[in-house]
């Protein structure tokens, strides 16, 4: 396996508040890395830095050996090689599902409409939504919208997918359909960086877990070890908040 994402000494501050404090880690090609941590610990910020949505104060991020330019005004086209799906629904409300999918490939990658549409339809089929191609986002349920959002990221052929709590805003009965899509992508060998609060899903999908707290990676390890035998007290406490034991 070769290294595809590499983060070196990443620091991110908002004025006085240090959100990411000297973070270093790397992701191998085909690896699924799941990031967990208490709310507000900087998980979203980390993904946003990787995708060039935030300026960073220190450190470097490499994609396939090339340095990612995180200055807002001069992206070097590397960021779009990482696909991102957000927690809140972010489809373009004035475009149909098919148009949502084909917009970026056509105008950013200058691909032919017909070819992109064929690919979009094939991808929609795979997530079970081909019947919705001419619907508008408002006509879809939350789970359906997130599946479309995943497809919209996929159709750009990203080398890495960044998923930021993509089921957090969903009604419980829709979580499954979205996670199944992600699980399938993992089986196909997609490289993914996933932030989630669904611990069982994390365990099932992850090759490696990262525990982020206070802007630092406090613990990392294989899922089995990570969940069964946490090494740090802080991770133990964090994992405990997800179990319900009658007192």
């Amino acid at each position: 396996m070769s290294e595809i994402v590499s983060v070196k000494n990443l620091c991110k501050r908002y004025d006085e508040l240090t959100v990411l404090d000297n973070i270093s880690f790397s992701v191998q090609k085909g690896e699924v890395v799941v990031i967990v941590g208490p709310s507000g610990c900087g998980k979203s910020t980390l993904l946003r830095c990787l995708n060039g949505l935030e300026e960073i104060q220190d450190g470097r991020i490499f994609l396939d050996g090339e340095k990612i330019e995180t200055n807002r005004n001069k992206t070097n086209g590397l960021c779009e090689r990482m696909g991102m799906v957000f927690q809140s629904y972010d489809l373009f409300p004035h475009k149909t599902i098919l148009q949502n999918l084909t917009l970026a490939p056509i105008i950013v990658k200058k691909r032919k409409r017909k070819e992109v549409e064929e690919e979009a339809l094939a991808l929609l089929e795979r997530v079970g939504l081909s019947s919705k191609k001419d619907s508008y986002p408002r006509q879809l349920s939350g789970g359906q919208k997130q599946r479309v959002a995943i497809v919209r990221a996929l159709i750009m052929h990203p080398e890495v997918l960044l998923l930021d709590e993509i089921t957090a805003a969903l009604d419980p009965e829709m979580v499954r359909e979205v996670l199944d899509v992600v699980l399938n992508l993992a089986r196909e060998g997609r490289t993914m960086l996933i932030v989630t609060h669904e611990m069982q899903f994390a365990r099932a999908v992850a090759d490696r877990m990262l525990f982020l707290e206070g802007g630092k990676i406090v613990e990392e390890g294989e899922p089995e070890e990570f969940f069964e035998h946490p090494k740090t007290e802080r991770l133990r406490q964090f994992l405990q908040t997800f179990t319900y034991i009658k007192e």
């Binding site: 779009e80 373009f92 409300p93 105008i107 990221a153 750009m156």
Partner: protein
């Protein structure tokens, strides 16, 4: 019922001419308001708080002041105070544009600030440049929100143009009054027929515009 006076001479044509003048004043004002309103609306979302304060004040003044006072102020006041002679029609267009620009600007501001940040971010995450983001994602959404609202503004303007007779412009309502005056003896009931007709004319001018607004609103609702 007083409708017969409409068929005397060229009375009906004169009424239509009056309506045409109202429509002309509204249309000119609307075009100016849309252009200036978009610019001012963009300025309203600026970070500079002095600019914001200034524009808020402008908006409040326009909302508080009756249009009639503004009309008198511009037509009689400006001419006296500055020695500039403005024709009644120019004054009317200035006042309606002053009003319309404020209203449009507020619509543009509302539409702009109503677009969630995530729309910009997901466009960027997909690799769109800032210009492409505005061109394909933000502006189409703004236009969809704005067009029905601005059409409503047009109908409000057409109705409000009835005020311009106060500064001597012979628009449809004024023509109506003149017809009634002229036929006071022969047809004492002319008032009903004439005003009912004026009402109908306003309705015929505004109704299709309203329908269009409603149609677009339905079509584009998100």
């Amino acid at each position: 019922m007083g409708f017969e006076v409409l068929f005397k001479g060229n009375n009906f044509i004169r009424l239509l001419g009056g309506l045409g003048l109202s429509l002309k004043i509204s249309l000119l004002s609307v075009i100016i308001s849309i252009v200036l309103g978009i610019l001012v609306g963009l300025l309203m979302t600026a970070k500079n708080s002095y600019v914001k304060l200034l524009l808020r004040t402008y908006l409040e003044i326009v909302r508080i002041m009756p249009q009639m006072v503004l009309l008198f102020l511009v037509y009689f006041g400006v001419a006296r105070a500055m020695g500039v002679h403005l024709s009644a029609e120019v004054s009317a267009v200035i006042v309606f544009s002053f009003w319309g620009t404020a209203e449009m600007a507020d619509l543009v501001r509302g539409a702009l600030t109503g677009i969630p940040a995530i729309q910009y971010e997901s466009s960027r995450a997909l690799g769109l440049t800032m210009v492409q983001t505005y061109r394909y994602v933000i502006l189409p959404q703004i236009v969809r929100r704005m067009i029905p609202l601005s059409i409503n503004l047009i109908t409000r303007m057409i109705k409000t143009t009835s005020l311009v007779m106060m500064i001597g412009i012979v628009e449809v309502l004024k023509v109506g009054q003149q017809i009634i005056e002229a036929n006071r003896k022969a047809s004492p009931n002319a008032a009903f027929g004439v005003f009912a007709t004026v009402l109908l004319l306003y309705f015929l001018a505004c109704w299709p515009i309203s329908c269009l607004a409603r149609y677009l609103e339905k079509k584009w609702e998100n």
